[in-house]
């Protein structure tokens, strides 16, 4: 144990040795995954984004508590302006717009938080399929190319045709539209990682393919996929809104932000508060994800 007395100045010393231009050697990418994700929340954008999202999610979760009457109570007059009873007024059927906005938010968040992660997961697996067999990998890519070949709207319409309108159709639409992006990204990551010397080193050691994948490839390609997933959240919001606008959205009377915008737009001249409420919430939701993905991008992907 005599070696313990040796002074080692290495770590603090070495990190900045690469390249001629000095770089901040303090925190570089590498090391514990969670720390890096947590550090994204410490950035101003990350904190604001995460705070905003936390607030919105909280509201969505607490919707039945906040509005015990539900989104379907038609006890008031139609298209009433803002009042003490109805802060944003009522819609064409006399339902409280604020309550419907919050319940609509609930619909959107339930879609986003399930469809997007699932899309990222399935897409990633499809992208990595080449590990099992070369033909499988190529086949998956062609499948993704086919999906990419159809406009999102056509895809959505096809899905509606099969499963009917409603939450499930929106969920599947978001999921399928996301697949090519995640699948291709994972594939590109895989191809790059396969040639990395640490992957080769593991192969030379005789480590099994599947283990190499889980230990060496996946952890090194997952970060950009997570960042992309957070970006895709915003895209997914607009998929929901878009499908709702063409009438392929959620089945009434269940509200969704997109569907409310769609109807609200018809009354924008007589009742501007109708569209402002859900519009603003949608904006905040998109803003929250944008800020968060921005911070993640900076904190996690800095190599």
């Amino acid at each position: 144990m005599a070696t313990n007395t040796t002074t080692v100045n290495g770590p603090a010393n070495g990190a900045g040795n690469v390249g001629a231009v000095p770089r901040p050697s303090a925190r570089r990418s590498g090391g514990g995954a969670w720390q890096r994700y947590v550090s994204a929340l410490k950035r101003p954008r990350g904190a604001v984004g995460a705070g905003l999202l936390a607030l919105l999610i909280l509201a969505a979760v607490l919707a039945p508590v906040l509005f015990p009457d539900g989104y379907d109570d038609q006890s008031s007059g139609a298209l009433a302006g803002p009042s003490a009873g109805h802060w944003l007024g009522t819609d064409e059927l006399g339902r409280d717009i604020l309550a419907r906005t919050v319940f609509g938010l609930r619909t959107d968040i339930s879609l986003l938080l399930t469809a997007v992660p699932l899309s990222a997961a399935i897409g990633t697996l499809m992208g990595l399929a080449g590990v099992i067999a070369r033909w499988l990998g190529t086949g998956m890519q062609r499948l993704l190319d086919i999906i990419l070949g159809f406009p999102g709207l056509i895809l959505g319409m096809t899905i509606v045709l099969v499963v009917g309108t409603g939450w499930l159709a929106l969920f599947l639409s978001i999921l399928v539209v996301g697949l090519p992006m995640f699948g291709r990204q994972a594939r590109a990551g895989l191809l790059a990682e396969q040639e990395r010397e640490y992957v080769l080193a593991a192969r030379v050691l005789g480590v099994r393919k599947r283990t190499v994948m889980v230990r060496h490839v996946l952890p090194n390609i997952i970060d950009p996929i997570v960042v992309n997933a957070s970006v895709f959240m915003v895209v997914a919001i607009f998929i929901e809104a878009g499908l709702s606008i063409v009438g392929l959205g959620i089945e009434p009377p269940v509200p969704s932000l997109g569907a409310m915008l769609n109807t609200g737009a018809r009354y924008v001249e007589v009742h501007p508060a109708y569209i402002i409420g859900p519009g603003l919430v949608l904006l905040l939701l998109a803003l929250g994800f944008t800020l968060l993905s921005d911070a993640l991008n900076k904190a996690v992907l800095r190599r």
Binding site: T6, V8, G14, L205, R215
Partner: protein, 733 residues
């Protein structure tokens, strides 16, 4: 130069003389005074260049030499005023032809750049625009500075000829991808010369090139200096390149110039311990006798400092064997020595003390853990007293082959087929046989593209052989037989070139080692103890185990890479350029470590490198590869003292030697580039570049018609040449 009187005390008078001396000659083209460049980072201000003074006269070459982080490149960019935010030049003056460049407006500076000062970058690949023909790129430089299209094109052609591009008329309209690396660098130089600049700043212009190409480019730069009268500021890390090309040298360390003076003077005797020790730490191609098994390289301990965390006082003091209290607290100024002929920034030599010659490191090389002045990590106390020469495998005499490669061919395009499924083979390795025994090192040298890495990767199973056999282990089991793969994985391991890429950034050192131990079948409970032993064996300690790779310097990472390879207790290590990505002062540490491990553990090495000096130092036998085949192989001494194949001769004479005394030696500079392995020349593959082949002796048709066999030559080694031994290496005198 060493007969110059050495004055003990330096006073103001010497600096006055100094002024007179410079005043004597024409006024300098470039004069940098007290240059200071800083970068503002999250963690504070990083002083990348600190109080740098440089002087460069027309028609001269000034070499700025230093390791990574020494500030040499930032200095070059500061002179060009190309330091971008968050960097900024905060002090000093940059006098170019008497005008201070710092005082110029952006527009004025833009005019100077390109027309009066031009720059050549390290990587010709990224310095050229891939979607513009080279002619247009050269012309662009001229048009920007006010020439019309027709003249610009004519001048572009002229320049291409001037930088030695054959068939310039045709090639002027080609695109960068149609040029080889060396040719691209010539194009880059042509662009730089387009508007006849007075100063050429070359930032590591040959680092990305092979030795034979490097020799061509260095020769070109030297010729241009004389023909065009341009002054060259050469930024490099390679003392060999400096010795070959520079008139004056400025050695940088930690953002400061620590020593400068005429090249001959500095290479003859050093006034700064860093320069002195760095030169000693480099293996020499002309190293005589048995460098191997006798002494390790006298390595400088530790690593170059992080510019963001420079030590107080002299930046070199933590690694300096002469450091005193004053060195630790006060920064030494650059003070003139020998009547202002040279200058150095060192407290020790300033008061007249000389630098004592460096003791050769004991071969075990254990002086060099990772920093600090670590002496003797007693891993195996019983082995410490062992003489370096008394290696077990040596004493028993007969070496046991542990890796035998026989007539190996590798088609690197095996899984690539042309559109209609026609196979389109490219044999990167074409009939190579070699063997490695325990305790010995086979050095494999060759230029990039010769197939040496493909060979190595095929041996460990990353690439698949097309034909031939690989046998491993004590029983020489065929690697392709059932069970052969296990024999291979437990016998042969690989040390990679790039220490920044060979460790998974997401896994701690312990996790990396555990994975390897797991493959050896070490039970979980014993892995911790084994890891500690491994990490100590490579000169680190258990405190390093739970850190991530980003916390380590290049040299330390390479040690971890070696520890991981050792974890499966292999008998043979394949070292693929293990030191070429490291700083010069770190290379010696890793070479010493590899030597120690080989001798302690009786490992056999297949040591791949393009650096002939390193190979000479470490190897028992050497094999020279050219275009997928071995052209010469034999004992190191035989091959290095009397190379028989003209390619070997050319390689050796092109290899830069860090000594100005041999700069005028005769060099064989090969013409052209390595042909593509896709379509190798008929007969002898070297004939398209051979200085004694049909290029100069048209009657030698045998070289075109008949492939030479690897025959034993009178000198003792084997060489594949019809006229082996005809070409002789000029003795370095």
């Amino acid at each position: 130069m060493n007969i110059l009187p050495k004055t003990a005390a330096h006073t103001a008078a010497t600096s006055a003389e100094n002024d007179m001396r410079t005043g004597h000659e024409t006024s300098p083209l470039l004069q940098v005074h007290g240059l200071r460049t800083e970068f503002v980072t999250e963690t504070g201000i990083v002083r990348a260049v600190n109080d740098v003074d440089l002087t460069l006269h027309t028609g001269k070459v000034l070499g700025v030499v230093g390791e990574s982080g020494s500030g040499k490149s930032v200095t070059a960019r500061s002179i060009m005023r190309m330091v971008h935010s968050p960097g900024r030049i905060v002090a000093g003056e940059i006098l170019f032809n008497g005008r201070d460049l710092r005082g110029l407006t952006t527009d004025e500076m833009r005019h100077i750049r390109g027309s009066e000062i031009a720059m050549v970058f390290q990587d010709p690949q990224s310095a050229l625009n891939p979607v513009m023909s080279v002619g247009d790129q050269i012309a662009e430089a001229l048009i920007v500075h006010g020439s019309d299209k027709r003249t610009a094109r004519r001048r572009a052609l002229e320049l291409l000829e001037q930088v030695g591009i054959p068939d310039a008329e045709r090639r002027v309209d080609e695109y960068p991808h149609q040029f080889s690396g060396g040719m691209r660098q010539r194009v880059v130089i042509a662009i730089a010369l387009a508007s006849s600049p007075k100063l050429l700043i070359a930032d590591e212009p040959t680092t990305a090139l092979d030795v034979t190409i490097q020799a061509q480019i260095l020769r070109l730069l030297a010729r241009l200096k004389d023909d065009v009268g341009v002054a060259v500021l050469m930024i490099t890390h390679d003392m060999g390149v400096v010795a070959e090309t520079c008139d004056d040298v400025a050695v940088m360390y930690g953002g400061r110039v620590v020593e400068h003076g005429p090249a001959e003077v500095i290479f003859a005797r050093q006034e700064h311990p860093y320069t002195a020790d760095l030169l000693k730490a480099m293996p020499r191609i002309d190293e005589n006798g048995d460098g191997r098994r006798s002494q390790g390289l006298p390595a400088i301990p530790g690593a170059p400092p992080d510019p963001a965390a420079l030590p107080p006082g002299c930046a070199f003091h933590p690694r300096c064997r002469l450091a005193e209290d004053q060195c630790r607290s006060d920064v030494p100024e650059l003070s003139p020595r020998e009547n202002g002929l040279r200058a150095a920034a060192c407290w020790i030599t300033e008061r007249g003390d000389t630098i004592p010659p460096l003791e050769p490191a004991d071969h075990t090389g254990r002086t060099t853990a990772s920093g600090g002045r670590v002496t003797g990590i007693a891993v195996h106390p019983d082995e410490d007293t062992r003489g370096a020469g008394s290696d077990t495998s040596d004493s028993t005499g007969a070496l046991q082959d542990l890796l035998v490669v026989d007539d190996l061919r590798v088609n690197v395009a095996a899984d690539r087929r042309s559109l209609f499924g026609r196979p389109d083979p490219v044999y990167a390795v074409d009939g190579v046989s070699l063997s490695v025994a325990g305790g010995e090192t086979l050095g494999l040298v060759g230029e990039s593209g010769c197939g040496k890495s493909t060979l190595a990767r095929t041996v460990v199973g990353i690439n698949r052989p097309s034909s031939g056999s690989i046998r491993v282990g004590a029983g020489l089991v065929d690697a392709s037989s059932p069970g052969g793969i296990q024999a291979l994985q437990s016998t042969v391991q690989y040390v990679f070139q790039d220490p920044y890429a060979s460790l998974n950034p997401r896994r701690t050192v312990r996790q990396s080692l555990d994975e390897a131990l797991e493959m050896r079948g070490v039970p979980r409970s014993e892995r911790a103890g084994e890891s500690i032993e491994l990490i100590r064996r490579v000169g680190l300690n258990e405190g390093h185990l739970d850190r991530y790779p980003h916390a380590f310097s290049g040299g330390q990472r390479q040690r971890i890479g070696i520890a991981r390879a050792l974890a499966v207790e292999p008998r043979v290590l394949i070292c693929d350029e293990p030191v070429s990505a490291l700083d010069v002062s770190i290379q010696a540490q890793i070479i010493n470590l590899l030597e120690t491990l080989r001798d302690d553990l009786g490992l056999g090495y297949l040591f791949i490198a393009h650096d002939l000096s390193v190979v000479r130092h470490l190897s028992d036998r050497v094999a020279v590869m050219y275009l997928g085949q071995i052209v010469e192989t034999g004992p190191v001494e035989a091959v290095y003292s009397s190379p028989q194949h003209p390619y070997t001769v050319a390689l050796m004479s092109s290899s830069p030697v860090p000594d100005t005394a041999v700069r005028d030696r005769e060099r064989i500079v090969l013409t052209g580039d390595l042909p593509s392995p896709k379509d190798p020349p008929s007969g002898c593959r070297f004939r398209t570049r051979c200085p004694i082949g049909p290029l100069v002796h048209p009657e030698r048709q045998i070289c075109v018609e008949k492939e030479p066999a690897l025959n034993t030559t009178p000198a003792g080694q084997r060489a594949a040449c019809h006229f082996a031994g005809e070409m002789v290496l000029a003795p370095a005198s």
